[in-house]
């Protein structure tokens, strides 16, 4: 049980690192925004695993959802 949680931990953190790199690498803005919201979403999973459920909810709703919506709105506005 405990080792299963730790594997999820490691997997989440690894994907966060990969997604952060992808955010830097992607030249297309939309892809970069999606990568950064993957970071936020997995961050909220990581918060949940670190016993912070209320922060996880806030991060999923505000950090991943709302921020991505604002970014997509801005990208549409500057094209």
């Amino acid at each position: 049980m405990s080792s299963f949680v730790e594997i999820i931990h490691l997997a989440t953190l690894t994907i966060i690192i990969i997604a952060a790199f992808l955010t830097v690498v992607f030249k297309k803005l939309l892809l970069a925004v999606i990568a950064s919201s993957v970071v936020s979403l997995l961050l909220s999973l990581e918060f949940y695993l670190l016993h912070a459920p209320d922060v996880a909810i806030a991060e999923a709703a505000i950090g991943a959802g709302l921020t991505m919506a604002i970014f997509i709105f801005a990208i549409r506005g500057t094209r």
Partner: protein, 115 residues
């Protein structure tokens, strides 16, 4: 077992954010960079409060014999998330205004103020 791995993630995402701010030219990409730094710092704060084998600090009566995860960093993180979304919104709205006036969102073209 996870040990220092979250701190590595913190360092990587702050580093990626600073790299974007230093070397990438798109104004919206800079906003993404700020977001990335902020994610890293939020993870840092939450990880600081983590105690191995603790329970989430949301029960009014904790189960006996178990430690709680520190609640203060979580409160700090909530504040910082809300401030972060306000910052992103402000930065992006200004990027849109720059696009309206200058017709570009490239950093090295939008620089009338210099010298």
């Amino acid at each position: 077992m996870i040990g220092n791995f979250p701190y590595v993630t913190v360092a990587v995402s702050i580093g990626c954010g600073l790299y974007i701010l230093m070397f990438q030219k798109n104004l919206i990409k800079l906003a993404i960079g700020i977001n990335l730094i902020e994610s890293g710092i939020n993870l840092f704060l939450i990880t600081l409060g983590y105690r191995k084998g603790g329970v989430a600090p949301i029960y009014t009566q904790a189960p006996a014999g178990k430690a709680m995860v520190l609640p203060t960093p979580q409160a700090l993180t909530l504040t910082s998330i809300v401030i972060g979304v306000a910052t992103s919104a402000l930065v992006l709205s200004m990027a849109m205004m720059i696009y309206k006036h200058y017709g570009t969102i490239e950093v090295d073209k939008a620089r009338r103020l210099r010298g």
